[in-house]
Amino acid sequence: MPLDIYVNVAIGGILTGLVYGLMALGLSVIFGVVRVVNFAHGEMMTIAMYLAIVLFARLGLDPLLMLAPIAVVLFVAGYFLQLRVINRFITRPEHSQFLLLVAIAIIIVNVLLMIFGPDAQSVQTSYSFDSYQIGPIIIDATKLYAGGAAIVVAIALVAFFRYTTIGTAIRACADNYTGAQVVGLDVNRLYALTFGLGAACVGAAGTMLVIIIDVTPALGPAYTLLAFVIVITGGLGSMSGALLGGVLIGLTEAMAGLLFSPSAKSMFAFGILVLVLLFRPQGIVGRRTA
């Protein structure tokens, strides 16, 4: 096979991986601070995807322009979900939290089914079929835009946590729950804010993914699983780990599909997960906990 095929496939894998990474970033942020595993993560992403589809179909609004508004909607939804519901489960056993979020996931899937039906839906933007050609290299325009937007959103999130007062307070909650309470931080509100930010991330990722893939209500569980694979590979709770994990999984799937059998590409992604769990259980850039 000519070399340019490998390069084309690798670029496509990296760009898709960046969007995967942004989606997983939300999961990692939520777990890193709130210590709740969001089993409704992929389902929340499908809500964002359907919002983008409705806005495009009814008002002709481009999903890339709708990235910020949809992220805000998901932020608000995530904020109140944490504040009103999940916060009540924070001190309960983990299986209670698990059941709560699985129940939320099931409700989301079924409500979407009732509203939108089971058929796949998509947006057809003016650039849906565009690609850029540089010599023998062909880059999918939608993936390029989505990958670029993922980098921008990830940088903004990292900057928020590092350089703002609220970001610092959230990190304090993540480091020491009791200590944060002792110094007077409103932990419940900060948790809600964090869950909102995680939801906003997944909302942004969903809005970008909708220009790459079609959406069905049943899409959610597959992406929840994918997000888990990515964050565990990169390091649960680590933002850079989530992005790195996303790129690694995207690239692995693409190259495995090219070099071996495309139908077996998910197997290689899970293979990496197994290797990480065996030899570096804290994830590639995760910190080992006592």
Binding site: I5, T16, P118, A120, S128, I138, S266
Partner: protein, 410 residues
């Protein structure tokens, strides 16, 4: 006189009155009974996957049921009373729903789109002695069991493949082309794997002009098929031989355009590339692919009736396999009821066995069943997408257009 009178009076006992009333009742009800069979609608239980993951297809088949009443009336057929049953896309539910419909009075069953569900219904129909006319199901074993009450007016898997190769040759001949190489992209589900195996077994027998240079399997639930298309493109094959479902057909088309790959043709066996949603989603980019499918003969009179009725009942929905074969299953039922003059299951089954409907919709000489209950005279078609619709390229007796080769999207 008095003796006579006495004698006559003595003959009219309670016993004779009862017997006379009984005879009168029988005499009165016998013709009434026959009259009811001929006049009352035949109760047909229509089993479809109306919910579950095949719900979309089941609902599409239902459109064939919706328009059947009006079309059958135009064709001079007796009325049918439809009893709807939902298989929920589950084999066990298909079985219990068939039993329930029979218990509720269904005199004939129709269904069920899927081979697994149809197999389960066939077992119930045979056990209860109620005729079952399969609308869509391609697994050969269903009509290989020696069943007496099971009939199928749909091609089996081997028939679909046989016609696909014959129709390809006809298309090549009309277009005056002889492609040398093909790359096969197939989904790796039960259907895709069955077609792959069938192709491997039957391909050498048909002396096709091209060789299959690579076979690439993919997951039909995959959200990104860019790698698969890159791999297929790298083979430099003249044609893409595709075995897909709907969503993956759309994904593959998008990727082909993005990766600027234009083989001479896309030859598809099975669903996806010609479906309404494919045509609507991709617009002018849907033009070109040729699909080899059980279809309809656009030149037949009954096709026009069905098309008109569908356009009236479901605006914007194009006539397709699901409508045609579900309608024809009901046509078989109505025709048998008309000839049998009775709703007796055995009489209906005997009448179906002698079916000879030439005024039908599907390609081929008509609807007739062999000793196994299979319509082996059915023919599949080659259809090409053109401007949001399809045209039929082969077989020649059912063709209404010539192939555009190489394919042009815009």
């Amino acid at each position: 006189m008095s003796k006579k009178t006495h004698s006559a009076a003595s003959l009219v006992t309670r016993r004779t009155v009862t017997a006379g009333l009984g005879a009168g009742f029988l005499a009165g009800t016998a013709p009434f009974s026959i009259g009811r069979a001929a006049g009352a609608p035949l109760k047909v239980g229509v089993l479809l996957p109306r919910s579950g993951y095949q719900a979309g297809i089941g609902q599409d088949c239902q459109r064939g049921v919706d328009v059947a009443k009006a079309v059958l009336k135009q064709m001079g057929m007796p009325d049918l009373q439809i009893m709807n049953g939902d298989t929920e896309t589950k084999v066990d539910v298909a079985r219990t729903t068939a039993e329930k419909l029979i218990a509720d009075g269904a005199q004939l069953l129709v269904g069920a789109f899927d081979s697994g569900q149809s197999t389960a219904i066939a077992q119930v129909a045979e056990q209860k002695g109620v005729p079952f006319v399969i609308n869509i199901a391609a697994a050969p074993p269903i009509t290989e069991q020696g069943y007496k009450f099971v009939f199928r007016n749909f091609p089996t898997g081997p028939m679909i493949l046989r016609d696909a190769f014959l129709n390809q040759k006809e298309v090549f001949s009309v277009a005056g082309v002889a492609p040398k190489t093909a790359v096969m992209l197939h989904c790796n589900d039960t259907y895709g794997t069955a077609i792959l195996k069938g192709t491997e077994a039957m391909f050498p027998k048909f002396d096709m002009p091209y060789k299959i240079v690579e076979k690439i399997a993919y997951d039909p639930a995959a959200r990104d098929l860019s790698v698969e298309v890159s791999k297929a493109k790298a083979t430099g094959a003249d044609i893409l031989y595709a075995v897909s479902r709907l969503n993956d057909a759309i994904l593959l088309t998008r990727e082909m355009i993005k990766q600027r790959w234009s083989p001479q043709a896309v030859l598809s066996i099975g669903p996806g590339w010609y479906e309404d949603q494919y045509l609507k989603t991709l617009g002018k980019n849907a033009n070109g692919p040729i699909s080899f499918v059980p279809w309809y003969d656009p030149n037949k009179k009954a096709t026009k009736l069905l098309k008109d009725a569908l356009a009236k009942a479901h605006k914007g929905i194009g006539l397709n396999t699901n409508h045609v074969y579900t309608f024809e299953a009901l046509l078989v039922a109505a025709d048998a009821y008309k000839r049998a003059g009775s709703a007796d299951p055995k009489a209906l089954a005997d009448a179906i066995r002698k079916t000879n409907i030439t005024d039908n919709v599907s390609p081929g000489p008509g609807i007739m069943f062999n000793e196994k209950g299979q319509n082996d005279k059915l023919k599949c078609s080659a259809i090409q997408n053109r401007d949001g619709d399809t045209v039929t390229l082969a077989p020649k007796e059912a063709a209404n257009a010539k192939p555009v080769w190489p394919m042009k999207r815009g």
